[in-house]
Symmetry: C2
Subunit: 482 residues, 2 copies
């Protein structure tokens, strides 16, 4: 047996159990640029691909959205055995390599780090992947059209979701969820700058206050409880408690047995409620400005992520106006009728009509974001304030992105007597909403608000077509795992 | 009947239904300072107190934590009828007043705005309160000791919570929840600056993965599901999906039938998970630095709120060290034994012993915040990484504020084989945690994390004694409302 002169330079590390505090800096893949040329460095990354060729082994190393080429060649540093060891490592394994950064003559088009490669001198496995992956990352990022045309594999949605831990490693997923984190941050930062206070509302509630349909039941010790369909009643109580401007970010539960591209049984609500002085348009203006700040922030800070997603799912850049376009429901009905749609004045918008309206508005006003104001009273919840000038309409509004609803909101009834009348008109059991109505008996400021679906905002901003792409671990009537 | 020359200057407004966009600026109570002297302004506020005295009526107007004195006197602007109207307004009603700001000779000690008062010229009711309040705000902010000594009323906890909308209006509650909003903001801002990504994890889960006890059951269409006891498994999946550093803020559910001062069945978890290079102390350092940034931010930005809460609930300022004190479990056991406590090496800390330890640490090190590291393996969950040097201990830690636990965390087992062994050792059904274990089969970085209870942080920072004071709408085995 010939001895291996490089035997200390490669191998499988014992499981990292915090045995020692190693004084070793690890350079991130994204930081591997020509400025580091000729430096000896350590990198931790996954094996994205591996290809042996004679006495050489080419690896692509990946960390998050970033990739770099690495080379091992039999020579002073590496033995035959070492190159073979590297060539046999399973894809997705995590390794530590010591390497010299080298500038390359020709750009490496297949990697994010195109101007350098790594000449590997040591290679150790930190965590080994099983050889057979449930899906291939290169299949999972292939544009759908390209897959069809060239007869190459793409990955269907259920396979993705069943193996979400792998699917989330793709450049597309990394970008979607980094951008979604940005939506939350921009939403909150904008509101905190406007003087809003963040609140936390309970998700387990004693009564299904908003009518009672579509609500999940929970066993609660010796009794039953429900999962909140929205934080709205609690937001309103905070307004009655003088917090004036509040927001919350949290899960919302809907027991709707509908399997559409835009419904989930659990999603994240970005909720706002705000006392106003004289007119609920003060609140609309605050919300639309918040949305505009989000759109601008995404455009300015997440351009890399947007472009990465567009490679797999091409879409037009998201357009918006300042100030935001506000149309009245009546005008929308007129536009739809002019386009051949037959509908009544007080009829709700169907999903296809919403989408058609989105196209008409885009043509006429060149915006992907607008507010539809003054919905018919009949199609809104009991706590919606009627229009003072026309009892068939109401002080309520929806907001749309690319023709799909992302927010529903209204001025709320802040008068206990009118609220009681409206609840009775809707046939709601007054006993069940007593605590809610009583909140308005001790002085309540006029107020309005709305709830935004986070996953929809991310989906529609990026021009994606299924809300499951923007929920890390989506829940629908047929999916409870992982 | 004598006509009333001032009849246009007072009255009850029609309900604000957004009838008009009134071009009227409203000045906030907190902005009423001597710089505004002699200005004619409009203010919206609640009637905090009202006192008639001959031809005059003294009101205290309140908005959030701020109060100002207002005066109506029979004269050129106000008629007898108008002063009587004002004197009869119910406490907590919301009014708009037009008034001239006047500097006062002597500070008004009973108001937050001590240097000015308002001379009211018009007064209109925006929203009337019922005359009988379920609790009096002045009783609700009275320090408990003072109430006892002087035989004055205080408000017990159930009355407060049953009438939370009123109780939340007190200066103490306003301050507690503004500070709590600040805790969330500081937590997130610090982590985002450190490169963390915010994630959203599902609350409805298919299997009670962490053992199965203390979990709420949900009816989910034709099957059953559970409410997540923590986002931990999902945080870990995100680490396996290369997000590297993640956090989330959201509800956590525990079906524990325990009615203590520090347990809720639903609370807000501030959760962190982070891949590390070689030693889990990298993660401890990140978490303790985050806590220190929170403590500093609260101290620097929320001094008014802290002092307001201290008026009702006196406490010592919160003390912390930089860097944070880290003790090993063994040392804690030795300190407790030296103080006369009898306990075994691998025995868990009881609540009284935790508190005693907190006092001993405070005496010795002068800090209210510290980390206890290296817990006995036997008292930690199955996914806790064993200590590489001593199999009776583990790479796990708790963090304490004023002697009470606010965070529990550990290095997690990131190796599927060891995880399987540990789960079997704990008698856990492997079938139920298959998806979780499988997450580690395709390369997993070493990682650690922890979960923080938001309500406990707020409670202990402010030196309060019941977690229900820092939960807006607390849930415990006996309370599901409001």
């Amino acid at each position: 047996v010939r001895s291996d002169f490089a035997m200390d330079r490669y191998g499988i590390c014992p499981m990292v159990q915090s045995q020692q505090k190693l004084d070793r800096a690890l350079v991130r893949v994204q930081d591997l640029t020509p400025e580091k040329a000729e430096q000896q460095i350590w990198v931790r990354a996954r094996i994205h691909t591996s290809r042996a060729k004679g006495k050489q082994c080419f690896l692509v190393l990946r960390h998050q959205q970033f990739t770099v080429q690495a080379l091992l060649a039999v020579g002073d540093c590496a033995s035959k055995q070492m190159v073979k060891f590297a060539a046999n490592l399973t894809k997705e394994s995590i390794i530590d390599v010591e390497a010299v950064v080298k500038k390359v003559e020709q750009k490496i088009e297949s990697c994010s780090q195109q101007d350098v490669e790594l000449h590997v001198e040591r290679i150790f496995v930190i965590s080994q992947s099983e050889a057979r992956l449930p899906l291939q990352l290169e299949d999972a990022v292939r544009p759908e059209g390209e897959g069809d045309e060239e007869g190459r594999a793409t990955v269907n949605q259920d396979t993705r979701l069943d193996n979400r831990v792998i699917d989330l490693r793709t450049t597309t997923s990394q970008s979607i969820f980094r951008l979604q984190s940005g939506v939350c941050q921009l939403f909150r930062d904008t509101l905190i700058n406007k003087g809003f206070v963040e609140i936390q509302t309970p998700k387990i509630i004693s009564a299904a206050s908003e009518g009672g349909a579509n609500v999940f039941t929970v066993s609660y010790f010796k009794t039953s409880a429900y999962l909140a369909q929205s934080p709205q009643l609690y937001k309103q109580m905070c307004i009655c408690a003088d917090f004036d401007k509040v927001f919350c970010v949290g899960p919302v539960f809907r027991a709707e047995d509908s399997n559409t591209h835009r419904h989930l049984t659990e999603f994240v609500g970005l909720d706002i409620e705000m006392a106003f002085n004289y007119h609920y348009h003060e609140v609309i203006d605050s919300i639309t400005d918040t949305m505009v700040q989000i759109f601008k922030g995404l455009r300015d800070r997440f351009q890399t992520e947007i472009q990465t997603v567009n490679k797999q799912y091409p879409s037009e850049p998201f357009k918006f106006l300042e100030p935001t376009l506000r149309l009245e429901y009546k005008e929308a009905v007129a536009m739809l009728r002019a386009a051949g749609v037959e509908m009544g004045d007080e009829e709700d918008l169907s999903t296809p009509n919403e989408k058609l309206l989105g196209r008409l508005v885009k043509e006429k006003y060149d915006t992907d974001f607008y507010v539809l104001d003054k919905y018919p009273l009949a199609v809104r919840p009991f706590y919606t304030m009627p229009d003072p000038n026309n009892p068939k309409y109401s002080n309520s509004y929806d907001m749309f992105m690319r023709g799909e609803e992302i927010l529903s909101g209204a001025q709320r009834v802040h008068d206990a007597q009118l609220l009681t009348e409206r609840a009775m008109h809707h046939g709601i059991d007054l006993e069940k909403i007593k605590a809610y109505i009583d909140s308005f008996r001790y002085g309540a400021p006029p107020h309005a608000g709305g709830g935004i679906g986070l996953e929809r905002v991310t989906m529609l901003y990026l021009g994606l077509h299924n809300v499951r792409q923007t929920s890390m671990f989506p829940r629908d009537p047929k999916r409870l795992t992982p």
